[in-house]
């Protein structure tokens, strides 16, 4: 088996491990589904992982990096893990996977705004109206559903 094939199989394992790391504020929602993973490279037992923050001042960065490093270190044959927060490309809600969007909507009543589209209420699919640019986090705004009056947090860029 060539070294190249070996690292590809290992990369799959590493990817699988990273996909099991949840966002600290959304238990059950993987950081991969949130679009935080940019690249993975495995060579000679060294895994280099590039992540993208939803915003650069996010207080969860150290915790997420620790969780990723811990998960990858547990993969067979990995001796060193280097996790880096990249400054580009910038994160945007378009990076969220379909799975991620569904989990945010059904588990946390959180909607996602892509570009300048009008977000829809996770409960009744009605249009929501912004109440405040910022919610409990920089990456979320507070909206209200016009139809069912639900208070909805909206993830946006």
């Amino acid at each position: 088996m060539s070294a190249e094939v070996l690292s590809t199989a290992q990369e799959t394992e590493v990817l699988r491990a990273i996909a099991l790391v949840d966002d600290p504020e959304y238990p059950g929602v993987s950081i991969v589904d949130l679009g935080l993973l940019e690249h993975v490279d495995v060579r000679n037992g060294v895994a280099t992982i590039g992540l993208i923050p939803t915003f650069s001042g996010c207080p969860a960065l150290a915790m997420i990096a620790d969780d990723v490093a811990g998960a990858v270190r547990a993969v067979d044959g990995i001796t060193t893990v280097v996790v880096t927060w990249l400054t580009s490309p910038a994160w945007s809600p378009a990076r969220l996977s379909e799975n991620g969007r569904t989990a945010l909507a059904t588990e946390f009543t959180v909607a996602v705004q892509i570009g300048s589209s009008t977000p829809t209420c996770p409960l009744c699919s009605g249009p929501t109206v912004e109440q405040s640019m910022f919610g409990p986090s920089r990456c979320r705004a507070v909206h209200r559903c016009e139809s069912c009056r639900e208070t909805v947090e909206v993830m946006r860029g």
Partner: protein, 304 residues
């Protein structure tokens, strides 16, 4: 969409069957008032807690902790905002009325925010002891809460409070494994915060507690308090700290820690806004509210 019930018996039967009440439902007046009062107190506590956290942003040691304090401040204020919206929807008080009552010293917020945080050690003790107590009581509400809009907000709040707990443990380990002076500072803070944190759960629940009967809360105060004691007493010991309870005893038969008699007078004082730091805290919140009136006026002018 609005549902209604003929009488309280029918409504309670609906709740006992796991029914979830929504904002447009024609719920009994007493239920509406009880849920509203509960959410209003929670919102006030998040808001006052956020202001306390904010005071520490410039004084927090190190960039890593400073980022976590900044984020926690935004979290708490954001939680307050969401909760005030949900409370206002119940049609009893508007958001402005709730804030004005809070600034006038007319409404309640959690006992722990009536005390002064003297040192960084106090902030760590709060993150370690108080946040855990608050999280435990919120989880007990969320588990079975019959009021839908509150339950859904709580799910998000709890996930974020869980994140604060991890930040708190990180802070706690750093100070607990630090120098002798740091350990002394932290012991002093634990001595100040152990009892207020324990009292956050409140005295034993009354047998006819409406909050329990209407499935707003799902666990009795004394049960939650005991769980907290069983977790935190051994944890404080394992890090080499003492628990400031002179009658602390371990019962070999039950395998449980007993903190001895609890003096509820300090809790009563805080609920009447007579805690050691109540006046200053409410006064500062009020000054802040008044100083920022021009921002609200300007925004309201733009929106009209």
């Amino acid at each position: 969409m609005s549902r209604s019930w003929n009488d309280m018996d029918e409504f309670e039967e609906f709740l006992d069957g796991g029914g979830i009440v929504e904002v447009d439902d024609d719920m009994p007046r007493e239920y509406r008032e009880a849920v509203f009062a509960f959410i209003e107190m929670h919102a006030n506590s998040e808001y006052m807690g956020g202001l306390t956290e904010r005071d520490w942003i410039p004084k927090t040691p190190g960039l890593r902790h400073k980022m976590s304090v900044l984020a926690k401040t935004q979290d708490e204020i954001g939680h307050g905002h969401l909760l005030y919206m949900v409370a206002a929807d119940m049609g009893i008080k508007t958001r402005t009325e709730m804030l004005e009552d809070l600034m006038a010293g007319k409404s309640r917020f959690h006992n722990v925010f009536h005390y002064k945080a003297e040192t960084w050690g106090d902030q760590v003790a709060i993150a370690f002891l108080v946040d855990a107590a608050a999280l435990a009581s919120q989880q007990a509400v969320f588990k079975n809460c019959s009021y839908g809009p509150y339950r859904r907000i709580l799910k998000r709040i709890i996930s974020e409070e869980g994140f604060h707990m991890r930040l708190g443990e990180d802070r706690m380990r750093r100070i607990a494994e630090g120098t002798i002076i740091q350990k002394e500072i932290f012991q002093g803070a634990l001595d100040r915060w152990f009892w207020p944190a324990l009292q956050l759960f409140g005295p034993d629940s009354k047998p006819d507690d409406k909050l329990l009967r209407w499935h707003i809360k799902s666990e009795r105060n004394e049960v939650l308090r005991d769980k907290w004691v069983q977790k935190f007493v051994p944890m404080m010991h394992s890090y080499g700290f003492t628990v400031p309870a002179p009658d602390l005893a371990f019962d070999d038969e039950t395998g449980k820690w007993d903190v001895g008699p609890i003096d509820w007078e300090p809790l009563k004082k805080t609920l009447a806004q007579g805690g050691p730091d109540s006046a200053r805290r409410i006064g500062e919140a009020r000054d802040n509210w008044e100083r920022t009136a021009w921002v609200r006026n300007a925004l309201n002018g733009v929106l009209q």
